[in-house]
């Protein structure tokens, strides 16, 4: 009996030693995955969810943890800045941020520079050398594509309107510029309205009716953002003007796609948020490994219309989520 207990103790000691020896080998590496923080503008909406989806793919591929931070509402710059600080406090290896405004970006750059954390910026173009990479859509090109599509749709002739909700945004400005720069080429196309529309849905309806009263000959509307496009399309559907006026939209929320199939919206220029999220994390990982990454990455755009919206290669772009 005594002998047995002695043996037991010896075996126990040996096993303990053995495991204390091997323990750091087994569980050390699993938990030590480095973390990439992704801070976007809003928690909800297909656009940002798709960005997140792409980021998750890259995180899995490059074996990183992905921490996702997003304010509940868009334009909540104050909250977003808090989240950037939170992400740094959480010990992220790199920060990938889609800043709500210039100020958030400036502060984020300052914060990360203090701690020598690499920072990458999504969906915004800038020139600060502290940013490893600006990854996003060439909005100027989007504007050009929208205009070209419109020219094709109205057969190079007629009045068009350029509408957008928030012109203070750099992205919207660039899209507008893309349209305006191509406008002189088409002598038979007249831009009769270039206006800022209210963001409220009901107001958009009234506003659109007003627009058509003023310009009954209006052939096309280029919307600089999806909410404007949806508002205008809704009004056109209810007023039965769907066939007469072509709408070219931006982005692909479900409503835009619905109107696209219905024929109310003629085309939409889509971005590639999945690529944005994926490349954001991919280059974040490479930057943190000290590799050189391109300072400016254009994730590309695509013109979608009723013709090609259900092509198999576009289905995944337009409907990224299997529900």
């Amino acid at each position: 009996m005594k002998r047995l207990s002695v043996y037991g103790l010896v075996v126990l000691a040996a096993v303990t030693l053995f495991y204390s020896c091997s323990a750091p080998l087994t569980n050390g590496e699993v938990d030590k995955k480095k973390t990439v923080a992704l801070i976007v503008r809003m928690k909800h909406g297909d656009y940002w969810r798709t960005v997140k989806l792409g980021a998750e793919m890259a995180a899995k591929e490059y074996e990183r943890n992905l921490n996702f931070y997003a304010p509940d509402y868009e334009e909540d710059a104050q909250r977003q800045l808090e989240l950037v600080q939170q992400a740094i406090a959480d010990g992220s290896e790199t920060i990938v941020v889609a800043p709500s405004d210039e100020q958030v970006l400036r502060k984020a750059i300052k914060l990360t520079r203090e701690r020598a954390i690499p920072i990458l910026v999504l969906d915004t173009v800038g020139k600060d050398s502290a940013v490893k990479s600006y990854i996003g859509t060439d909005n100027y090109d989007m504007g050009m594509k929208a205009f070209e599509k419109m020219v094709f749709l109205i057969e190079k002739k007629g009045q068009i309107a350029l509408l957008g909700t928030d012109r203070s945004k750099a992205n919207a400005k660039q899209r507008e510029q893309g349209v305006l720069d191509l406008l002189p080429r088409e002598i038979e196309i007249e831009l009769v309205a270039n206006e800022t529309v209210p963001s409220d849905k009901k107001q958009i309806g009234e506003w659109t009716r007003e627009l058509f009263r003023k310009h009954p000959q209006l052939k096309g509307v280029i919307a600089l953002d999806s909410s404007t496009a949806i508002g205008v399309a809704e009004e056109m559907e209810s007023s039965g003007l769907g066939d007469k006026v072509k709408i070219v939209a931006i982005d692909s929320p479900p409503e835009v796609l619905e109107y696209l199939q219905e024929g109310i919206i003629s085309a939409t220029i889509i971005q590639k948020p999945l690529s944005m999220g994926y490349l954001g994390v991919k280059y974040a990982v490479e930057a943190s490994n000290g590799e050189a990454v391109p300072s400016l990455v254009d994730t590309g755009t695509k013109v979608i219309d009723r013709e090609n919206m259900f092509w198999s290669e576009n289905q995944k772009l337009l409907f990224p989520f299997v529900k």
Binding site: S22, M57, E61, L257, Q261, G263, L274, V322
Partner: protein
């Protein structure tokens, strides 16, 4: 430093044991480690293969059973429609609704004519504009291949208002009972793709591995990175899986090595392809090798510690033995502790000690024998004293008789007889100081007679009771006195003085003979002290004899001290131990 060097004696037994055992251990451990690593690595690799195979088999099984279930539902719907009197029959739509309600993943059931007109749908929803359904693959296949049930690739269902959903469409031509006979129509059952998507997403092959599905011609049914492939950010080489239905192979690209495993769902010809990353298997290998490496280190450290202890245990007694031998070599034969250690060493040390004891004993014996021999030699010399003296004395007596000095003759003869009685002393070498002094007194009396009052003498004793009863060697003082007479006084012009003094000093007995004779020059004194000086006269038993006898009998710390000044005289001190005579030794 020295100790350290002593420890690392290259040829030391400890060093030899430690290094050889360590070498053996390391070699054995290395061998075992390499073998284990090989085995483990192989097993890990095999397990990875097997694991991948099993997972894919599971996926295949799940998909199979799911699709079978769907097929059954399709057949059920087909059956219900065939048996009913017409599509509008209330009972039919109720039954179909029940089916849709029980199976959450059925998005819609619809029947179209061959030109794409909607005849019936469950649940009833509004048909969208611009569906182009006749151009869609499920419709075309149903027309082209009326007998088989078709499964489409996952696509967005754009037929009915509501949410756009990813579906797999099952379609086949059916025959409807119309009023004017059988009408061919197309039955469509749309199944939500989410179930399959989830199933495939859950497949985990290691950390990064995944599974994807392609159809017969290589179109992607499911791929976790499908969007990236379409966006051109990723590429999946689908040419090989297209050719094979089963098996696995290793695909090597500059960046990575991947294990590709293929399974086929027979029903549809869809292929499930598992992609696992070899570097994860290699990671497992790395982990194993690291583990074995640390194990090796750990074992070697333990072995070294144990070996150090063991070799010390073995070599320490040997070192001790060596040290005790060294002591003996340097002439220290004293007894030392027996060494504890292994049986052999203990035996060795025991034997050695026995040997040393034997040697010690022999040495003592030799010393004893030598001493005895010397003593007997000395005694022989000493025995010559008296015959010589006797001859001289008797010559003197004859002269006295010739001169008619009877008084002197009587005194001389009396003293002579007493002297002899003492010097015989029943054959003993050791007598009391009293007897020795008595003896020397008679000697002095006789000499005084012979030398016609050429000197005076006195015998002074301090602590009489003590000193007189102490033991001494006999005939110590006679040769000294003889020297004092022959060398010190004989050649003096004036009569000399001889003083015999006995006392206890510092626990030793001092017997002193002083004269005021010629004394000795320092050279002679040195010679006498060294024992080289031989006088031509006297009995030939010199001071050296006395010295040696004292030393042999009482030890090195006793003996003679001679002080002498020319023209001043000589003092010879005899130091002997204070040994009080037993009663019977007293006279």
């Amino acid at each position: 430093m020295k100790r350290l060097l002593a420890v690392i004696k290259v040829k030391g037994i400890q060093f030899i044991i430690t290094t050889s055992f360590t070498l053996v251990t390391v070699l054995v451990m290395l061998f075992v480690g390499v073998m284990l690593y090989g085995k483990f690595a192989q097993t890990a690799e095999q397990n990875a293969y097997l694991h991948t195979q099993q997972i894919l088999e599971q996926v295949k099984y799940n998909l199979d059973s799911y699709l079978n279930g769907m097929t059954q539902i399709f057949e059920l719907v087909d059956d219900k429609i065939r048996r009913s009197k017409g599509l509008t029959a209330y009972k039919l739509s109720e039954q179909l609704e029940t089916i849709v309600e029980t199976r959450k993943d059925i998005v819609s059931i619809a029947v179209f004519t061959r030109d794409g007109t909607l005849l019936a749908t469950t649940p009833s929803k509004v048909l969208r504009k611009n569906t182009r359904l006749t151009e869609q693959s499920w419709f075309q296949k149903a027309i082209e291949d009326p007998t088989n049930l078709n499964f489409s690739l996952p696509h967005i269902q754009n037929l009915f208002k509501g949410e756009y959903t990813w579906v797999v469409s099952m379609s086949r031509e059916i025959l409807l009972h119309g009023p004017d006979g059988e009408i061919p129509a197309v039955l469509l059952v749309d199944v939500n793709f989410k179930e399959i998507d989830d199933l495939c997403q859950r497949v985990g092959l290691g950390k990064k591995g995944y599974a994807y599905i392609i159809d017969l011609v290589g179109n992607i049914v499911y791929h976790p990175q499908q969007q990236l492939i379409y966006a051109g950010l990723k590429n999946e080489n689908r040419s090989l899986p297209l050719k094979h239905s089963y098996g696995s192979y290793v695909e090597e690209t500059p960046d990575e090595t991947r294990l590709i495993t293929i399974k086929t769902i027979d029903q549809l010809g869809w292929k499930i392809i598992g992609v696992s990353y070899m570097d994860e298997i290699v990671t497992t290998k790395k982990e194993i090798s690291r583990f074995i490496f640390w194990l090796l280190i750990f074992v070697i450290v333990i072995v070294l510690l144990v070996l150090h202890y063991l070799s010390a245990k073995i070599s320490r007694p040997i070192k001790l033995l060596e040290q005790s031998m060294e002591k003996v070599e340097q002439g220290d034969f004293s007894e030392s502790e027996p060494i504890r250690g292994s049986h052999e060493v203990e035996q060795l040390s025991l034997r050695f000690h026995l040997m040393v004891a034997k040697v010690r004993e022999l040495m003592h014996q030799i010393i004893r024998e030598q001493e005895a021999k010397r003593k007997s030699e000395l005694e022989v010399l000493q025995a010559q004293i008296n015959p010589h003296f006797l001859y001289n004395t008797l010559n003197s007596v004859v002269r006295m008789v010739g001169n008619g000095k009877n008084e002197d003759v009587i005194t001389t003869i009396t003293s002579l007889s007493k002297l002899f009685r003492i010097s015989l002393s029943r054959g003993k070498n050791i007598i009391t100081v009293r007897e020795e002094l008595e003896h020397v007194r008679h000697y002095l009396i006789i000499q005084k007679m012979r030398y016609k009052q050429k000197f005076e003498y006195e015998i002074v004793v301090e602590d009489e009771d003590e000193v007189l009863n102490c033991l001494t060697l006999k005939l110590l003082l006679q040769p000294i006195v003889e020297n004092a007479i022959y060398h010190g006084i004989e050649h003096l012009a004036d009569p000399g003085r001889i003083r015999i003094f006995a006392a206890l000093i510092d626990g030793k007995v001092l017997l002193q003979v002083s004269d005021d004779g010629l004394g000795m020059s320092p050279d002679v004194l040195a010679q006498v002290k060294a024992g080289f000086y031989k006088s031509e006269e006297g009995s030939g038993v010199g001071i050296q004899n006395v010295q040696e006898r004292i030393r042999l009998t009482f030890g090195e710390q006793y003996g003679l001290e001679i002080e002498s000044e020319q023209e001043e005289g000589t003092v010879v001190s005899v130091w002997i131990p204070r040994q009080v005579a037993e009663g019977r030794d007293r006279l």
